[in-house]
């Protein structure tokens, strides 16, 4: 499979604190890859570097073979890297549909076309009935879906998902897992940060583990849960799959 996103030796310092230390990872086209690790390990920082919110101190990021370091977030979104935020960030004074249209306007300047594209995605995510609902009246679960819808509306080749399962109960997690699988089947490559291991194991072709800014594991999700170092720093001895 072709490499879509290549993170090469990324280091990011905040003052004296090294948030990422020579982190490398590759996401191939059509893959679902997960990043796990303790709170504060640098996972979201890596997303912020990939999407141009932070500039790294060292390293390269290649997307479809081109270095994207130094490009602003909007250019990176236009190239086809979409993302969601851990704390959902809807435009609260707009309806769900209008929020998704903002994403769609990444690809078209026609409001009509943006509305059509937004309605398609809203249908895909099963939110039709709530299209006209003001965002501040949505439940957390629906706001999480909206976050996904808006990112999808930018027509990304790869979508970076930051803890989309947080706050969902196990049944809601299963629905979200199915949605993500559907997105991948539609040709979107997925890189996700997640603590809900049930979802990580159900979805991932590969898993990378970060700890204190360093990659300590990369590979098969079935083996990651047996890795002594990963159990020590992240999963814990009592870990069970539920």
């Amino acid at each position: 499979m072709k490499n879509l996103l290549e993170v090469e030796n990324i280091t990011k310092n905040f003052g004296g604190l090294t948030a990422l230390m020579r982190v490398s990872l590759v996401v191939s086209e059509g893959q679902i890859k997960s990043i796990i690790g303790p709170n504060g390990a640098g996972k979201t920082t890596l997303f912020n570097v990939i999407t141009g919110f932070y500039r790294p101190n060292e390293g390269r990021i290649l997307f479809q073979g081109k270095n994207i370091i130094g490009l602003p977030p909007e250019a990176i979104a236009f190239f086809g890297i979409g993302r969601t935020f851990q704390l959902v960030k809807p435009f609260l004074n707009m309806t769900l549909l209008e929020n998704v249209m903002v994403g769609a306007l990444n690809r078209t300047s026609s409001v009509r076309e943006a509305r059509r594209r937004a309605m398609d995605i809203i249908g895909f995510l099963g939110l039709e009935e709530k299209a006209k609902t003001p965002t501040d009246a949505l439940t957390i679960e629906d706001r999480k879906r909206l976050e996904l819808a808006r990112a999808l509306a930018t027509s990304p080749s790869i979508l970076l998902l930051d803890e989309v399962m947080a706050g969902l109960n196990p049944a809601e997690v299963n629905e979200m897992v199915e949605l993500i699988q559907k997105m991948r089947d539609d040709g979107v490559t997925i890189l996700l940060i997640e603590h809900v291991m049930h979802a990580v194991l159900a979805l991932s072709d590969e898993v990378a583990v970060l700890n204190y800014g360093e990659k300590i594991y990369e590979g098969d999700p079935k083996l990651v849960v047996k890795d002594p170092k990963v159990i020590e720093v992240y999963l814990g001895e009592e870990y069970s799959l539920i």
Binding site: P38, N39, I242
Partner: protein
Amino acid sequence: MLNFNNVSVAYGQLRVLTEINLTVEREKIISLIGANGAGKTTLLKTTSGLIRAKSGTISFDGQYIHHKAPHEIVMFGIVLIPEGRKLFTSLTVEDNLKVGSYLREARRDRKETMDQVFSMFPRLKERRRQLAQTLSGGEQQMLAIARGLMSKPKLLMLDEPSLGLAPLIVSNIFSVIKEINQRGVTMLLVEQNIAHALRVSHWGYVIENGRIVLSGTGEELAGNEHTKKAYFGER
């Protein structure tokens, strides 16, 4: 200890809780289970006085509290640790704890309570002079719980304490919940990590669309066909 008698709550025209009857027994851990938007957080906020019930009564240790203001309800020993922690992020760990012991009685015993809290959370002791914003997610949640304990509560309500935390830290949080309970504090817990929550709970209520539809011991609810389907997503 805490009793809800036919309590209904509405936001404007929108009914959020309908005729809730619920009992929290002393020194027990009680869980509220339900989908997002079912009304669990509203129930905690109503207990705290942050939201007023439209009808029904709430009593605590035999006294009605449903007409009281939040600061009066805290004086009864009812403390809410809200979702998202709501720490004073630009204050130190120690100052956050001091704010927790603002009540007169708690202030008197501040030093002793703080020692107890530090023995339960050694990480917080190590970091007592650090700003709360420099703590990791897990440490922040521990601090939120510790701050709640500083007021010497009788009833501690926790809203999604495991949200967004690594599996190892989630296990730690639940051990802490059990430990606090063993020290005699009654707990009312809202959690999406249902398996973990029911494992530590003496009793649980299932809330759907603002109504209690089921209740039972943690074990009973974990084995119940309806909860398995609706909340564990089993088919």
